[in-house]
Amino acid sequence: MNAQPVIEARSLYRSYGRWRKKVNAVRNISFEVGRGEIFGLIGPDGAGKTSVIQILAGVLRAQRGVAFVGGSDVLSHPEAVKTLIGYMPQGLGANLYESLTVEENIEFFRDLRKLPDEAFQKNRAELLKMTRLGPFLQRRAKNLSGGMRQKLALICTLIHLPNVILLDEPTTGVDPISRQDFWEIIRRIVEERQVTVLLSTSYMDEAERCHRIALIHAGEIIAQGTPESIVGQASGQYATIRADPQPAALNALRGIKEVLSTQVFGEEIHIRYEGNLEEIEKELMRQATFVRQSSPQAPTLEDVFLQLVSDTARRSPSLHFATAHRRDSDFPIECRGVVRSFGDFVAVDNIDLRVRRGEIFGLLGPNGAGKTTLIKMMCGLLEPSAGTILVAGFEVPKDKDRATAQIGYMSQHFSLYRDLTVRQNLRLYSDLYDVESAKFSHLIDPLGLREFESRLAGDLPVGVRQRLSLLCAVLHAPAVLFLDEPTSGVDPQARRTFWELIYSLSRESGITVLVSTHYMDEANHCDRLGLMDQGRLIAAASPSALKSESERRSGRLLAIYGSPLRMALDALHTGFPSATLYGDVIHLRTLDPQFDEQKVLALLNRAGIREPRVHRVPLSMDDTFIDFIQTAGASHA
């Protein structure tokens, strides 16, 4: 890395609004990014990440401070900076023109940058190859999946070979396969051309792929350094506990002084604690819960982040409803042979599904798999082309008017009124459902909405918006709650809170929850998962059952380390064509781990790779999912 920083921000300050409504978005932010470095701004929504990037891109004026990009003063000469940078705004393909084709979009950006033909052809070919968008050149942007859109947006941002790349939440809302491609492109470009990358993200696992990161909270940097050095700042210990019955265990844990925080992941409870884990285990046993397993764990970046911002961390919420009378049914959600087609396109293909009462059922699948269509049909927003749907015992959409009182729905897009305040939105929904505010006012505090009550919904950070949407969806105490990608673009802290809420709704109030997501880590929160691909439900089982099925079919997962990584991968490809790069690790599936471990080491050694290591690691939900999709695709073809 060069001594002279490419990006330099010193004491940046930016506020919005005036007087009473003044919001300080950026407060005294300083950092430097060197040439060839990937620098990540990590933080929840509303922390000020976007403002910082926009200031550096020369589109937002900073009120105080100094900013240099490539040696030019951004604040006094913003136009000079614009020739150097590639900027990708937040949102899935937000810089794309929907009605233009992939090719036409790329050409537009070429011309906007007056790129010479030769450089363009070379760069275009390279980027298309990396993104695998070559076959889709004639497709219109609006017909691309979310992941493809984002990759196209990246091509458009990089087409003019900028030396400085500014990416605002580039992977938010992108499915895991596309995210992997995305990081691979960034890594290759940085490696080959020594460009400088500044990006923001709320995914902690992505933060680990940056050279250096800055944790931003409420407009200030609270920690800065390499991911490892920041993880090193963790205090306290971490552990995973499996206990029965889980709600009782959770309650007990919250009562123990040594336990600093708790979080539920499906069957597991993650805790941060001080002192002795065995003592905690004993205490749990004393309170009549059966501890099946408890094991200490290394802290993750996410843990550190949550710990550092703990001043705003809330007590784990508990949402309890005096549940209204509802038609009892053991399976509040039932689909029989449900089909939905739009013209020739079959969006949902013959789905049979039953969800038990109180269950959290996760619908997993890439963008365009048919999840949203299915959920809309269950909410009575779309009529199925064939098949029957029963929700809380009522057939929809035939009996929709009676079913609505039992249905809570939170759509993929923020769908409350942006120009109304939080209080006004709540008032509207309580009127719509004819619910007195006393019935749900006790939820405002645990959801952390109190301080935002008189803010406009459109001005809220995404995480707060989602909590507001959730409250609007459940304030009438529905029997069934449909959540369509509820945490898309939500920061980890907010996501964690959000899942605790859902968990408490399901466990304490017996609400049945159907949630769609493409965050694989979230899949672990669900009791059962349905994997969807191309309109079909290709599997439905508990997360652990899915993982073991995948392991049985496609083998164990090996994590392979070594340096240089690129050469290691090339070497491995001679023997294992299926080896893939995953961040700084190469992943390989094997049905015969013992034998293949040796073979891998042999290959790496022969290629002269330094420090080759092979570990057997548990299958992540990502891997499981990708495996299921590929297997289904193969059998389908």
Binding site: K376, D419, L432, C472
Partner: protein, 377 residues
């Protein structure tokens, strides 16, 4: 009324109040725009710019010319040569040129006929027709005075000359103030335009922002959602009309309100209902705002300009006139002028009310049908 509807209505109000630019445009439309339209007298076929080429320059010609006066004619120039005639007419600075022959005095004094030439700019065909009529009236009355003079000269008593004396009494608007007319017209136009635009744009936005979808999952039914769009629009538009009446039309133009304001407001409410229903119908059909906008112009422009206010329906070709019967604007204009200026009562305007009502109900039914259908498709 169910609590849901009240809740939705409150929401609409909050949204309108939130948008300052919108409030500004609305108030501007109902005050400044109404004032400029009424004040400009841009619709009168009066003050016809007239140039005079007097070759006679005699007392008789001056006498004749003195009849060319306001409000019908505005003498803009006295010409000196033939060439100037072309100039003035070409440039449009004069719409008619009156040429008085050199022998005017001699002819009038004698027994012959003096021919006055009037050259008219046909580019304004309608004002030309009217100007011809005015001139005919002037020359007629001048002729009569000449004849009377001759009769007097012949010793006939002037008091015993047979004459028809027209006593024109203009009812409802004795001063023939066009500010009343244009001001009121602009108000009625704005009332129509704003009701349509506001509702259609609002509903399209709810579609684009997914808020409509969220509403449909709640117990609110489509009809309730529509009603909750209509009622606030009615209140807002009627409130703005009140502003227009009492801030502009009455104090600035002294517009009389002869009929019952209650009747006016009730039917105006019906009309707003009809227009919001149309806005809803457009919004449920259109995919985006740009499309909705195009459809709105396609309907609004003919509706406003063929309402009978700008041009008398009796002058339209028959099938056009028949077409105007399906426009609620036609009934509303008829009604508005009837109640405000003529003091018409309910019995007089009952058919206008029926027309507006039928129109609104038809569109509302269409919207509901289309809306339900779109769920399946």
């Amino acid at each position: 009324m169910p609590r849901r509807i009240l809740g939705l209505i409150r929401k609409e109000f909050l949204q309108i109040l939130r948008d300052r630019a919108l409030i500004f445009i609305l108030i501007w439309a109902f005050t400044v725009a109404v004032y400029t339209s009424g004040h400009g007298r841009a619709m009168e076929v009066t003050n016809v710019p007239t140039a005079v080429y007097d070759l006679s320059r005699s007392p008789a010609s001056r006498e004749f010319l003195s009849h060319l006066q306001l409000p019908y004619f505005k003498t803009v120039a006295y010409l000196e040569s033939e060439r100037e005639i072309t100039n003035w007419l070409d440039s449009g600075k004069a719409s008619i040129v009156v040429v008085i022959p050199p022998d005017f005095q001699r002819r009038v004094d004698g027994t012959g006929t003096a021919e006055i030439q009037v050259i008219i700019d046909g580019a304004f065909a309608s004002s030309a027709t009217i100007a011809v009529a005015y001139i005919a009236a002037i020359s007629g009355s001048y002729s009569v005075s000449v004849l009377e003079h001759r009769a007097g000269a012949a010793g006939l008593s002037l008091s015993s000359v047979p004459q028809v004396d027209e006593r024109v009494r203009v009812k409802f608007n004795p001063n023939m103030s066009s500010t009343w007319f244009s001001g009121l017209l602009e108000l009625l136009n704005m009332l129509t335009m704003v009701s349509l635009l506001l509702t259609a744009a609002d509903l399209v936005r709810e579609k684009e922002h997914n808020t409509l979808e969220q509403l449909l999952v709640t117990p609110a039914r489509p009809l309730e959602i529509f009603i909750a769009k209509i009622i606030p629009t009615i209140i807002v538009v009627l409130g703005l009309s009140t502003l227009s009446f009492f801030l502009v039309l009455k104090p600035a133009f002294h517009l009389p309100i002869r009929g019952s304001l209650f009747l006016f407001y009730s039917v105006a409410a019906l009309h707003v209902f009809a227009m919001t229903s149309m806005g809803i119908a457009i919004a449920v059909v259109a995919r985006n705002l740009a499309q909705a906008m195009m459809i709105m112009i396609l309907i609004l422009q003919p509706m406003l300009f063929l309402s009978g206010a700008w041009n008398p329906p009796e002058a339209m070709i028959p099938w056009m006139r028949a077409l105007s019967y399906i426009s609620p604007m036609r009934y509303f204009i008829d009604f508005g002028y009837g109640v405000i200026l003529k003091g018409s009562n309910f019995a007089v305007v009952v058919w206008d009310i029926v027309g507006i009502l039928l129109f609104g109900i038809t569109l509302m039914s269409f919207s509901l049908w289309w809306f339900r259908r779109s769920l399946a498709h």
